[in-house]
Amino acid sequence: MKDFCMILEFHQPYRLNRNFNSLYYAGEEDFRKVFDAYFDDGLNELIFRGVTRRCYLPLSELILEQAERLRREGKEFRLAYSLSGLFIEQCKRWEPKLIELIGELVDLGYVELLGQTYYHSLSGLYGPERIEFKRQVEMHSSLMDGLFGLKPEVFENTECLYNMSIARAIDDMGFEGIVTEGADRILKGRSPNYVYRAKGCGLKVLLRNYRLSDDIGFRFSSRSWCEWPLTSEKYVRWIEWTPGESIVVFIDSETFGEHHSRESGIFDFLKALIRKIAESRYLVWSTPSEILEKRDERGVIDVDDFSTVSWADLERDTSAWLGNGMQLTVYESIKSLGPLVRSLGDETFYTVWRRLQSSDHLYYMSTKSGGPGEVHGYFNPYGSPYEAFTVYLRVLADFEVRLKVRLEETGRREARYLFPVPSDKAFTFYREFARSMNLRVRSLHDLLSALRSVDIKSIEFHSERGDFGRWVRQVIGDMELAEVLDEASSLGLVGEKLRRKLIEALEARIAEVEGGGSPIFK
């Protein structure tokens, strides 16, 4: 018997307010009011209620009804939901009965819940030790635990993003396995329909069968597709005859009723599919954790951090979110606010900063053309990628100013030293005079990690000239740290002793500046 596993993704972002303008709130003292204006809750509610009516509710009702019926007949049917934290938040606000329904499905054992980042963010891609990423995953786990009484065992990162660092972080957190895209370039000729193991750790990897997934997700209602109309008979035959042990079809829940309208027959297709697979002598409905328990690993998945995979577009990499200048600017900016937010330690600021990290905002800014471009456009609530960018920047600029003001107000002026400087003011490492090393740092955090790894010759060169103290004083503006660094340089230390001294000085200062605000969500 082959395992057939269906995973449905449930996510809704907080879309930004297209009319937001800082000028309207110039004199506003209460930043909470301003923050509310960042997001277009009218639109978010409209969309959420609409999608619930057309898709989430009828879908979950259909699943419950079929599961009950099959259970009475002694047949098995189970699948997996992956619910983002933002989805749950909006659900609580506008459609609480949907949560009850999902809770019922979980309680009856029909649905397994997967882990993901609470904010559906790209946080898996950055940061030392992936601290922010782990926090968002923990937040999600405790949300699931609190609501449904279950902690997810299998993880699914935002849009199936996967690389070695993400796998390690998830392994550290005690997950059994992770689901990612069965992209050809990571499989290298192997079949996606087996269980694999992540390179360098014990985490098991389940791979999404993108062909069978896209057949339903994208092609189902396309009349120009040579297999149209896709019947459940044909689809089940394909699954039955596909070589392998476990087949994972992972699609957007909105496939049902939203991307393909009810009139396309998608609900009837699902209903028939559920029954046919339950009745098949060759297939059994399984959830990700069941597959991981049952099946042996067939090999190793090796994806280094520069070849990250995802399920998006034809490239199946990060280019859907980080593919053009606008996207990279936004991504770098939101990342660079991290130390300041942490330093302030205010819950409200944390929440806004994290909501702004949702991958959707970056997705709307994609300027890809062709088929993928159309898909991006389909989801975009703004007029164009450029509007998405300007709206985002207006909000982000306002947020940055209010964050810095708040830091001043709460006596945490020093926090601004943690903020990166513009790239033309970066510190460039040299091996010796006029021998640049092509290593540039823009913040104290970056300087610290550079000091840990850079050639000691270079450190000696700059220390002797007093460059570290000078840059910190004149560019970063932190007189206190500058003095400490100058002092360290004047001791006449060389080699690893010098390195250690400088690192200690920097670590102490960063801890001091950041330390005040303890992270809210542990």
Binding site: S191, N193, N209, W238, W241, P243
Partner: protein, 93 residues
């Protein structure tokens, strides 16, 4: 030098349909009777074809009557039918 005339060059460069290529490979493998039938796993192993496409190509071939399926010990196996063998032979001359 004798020059070979080239009429209808375009259709000569036409690529063989994917399902037809699979049919030829199965026939060349000798999978032409119930006794020599193979499961989709075995086909995937013997023919280095993207394993995902096998199922849908076989579905197409069965719908056209060029391949048939039988069940052996709870496993579905496939073989090329007589019509399928004939269709393969049209490739050559």
């Amino acid at each position: 030098m004798h020059v070979i005339m080239t009429y209808g060059k375009d259709s000569f460069d036409r690529k063989l349909p994917e399902d037809f290529s699979l049919l030829c490979m199965l026939s060349n493998l000798g999978v032409t009777s119930r006794e020599t039938a193979l499961s989709s796993e075995e086909i995937a192993e013997r023919i280095h074809l993207q394993t995902d496409s096998i199922a849908r190509l076989i579905t197409k071939l069965i719908d056209k009557g060029l391949v048939a399926s039988i069940e052996v010990e709870n496993i579905e196996k496939f073989y090329v039918t007589l019509d399928g063998v004939r269709r393969v032979l049209t490739l050559y001359s």
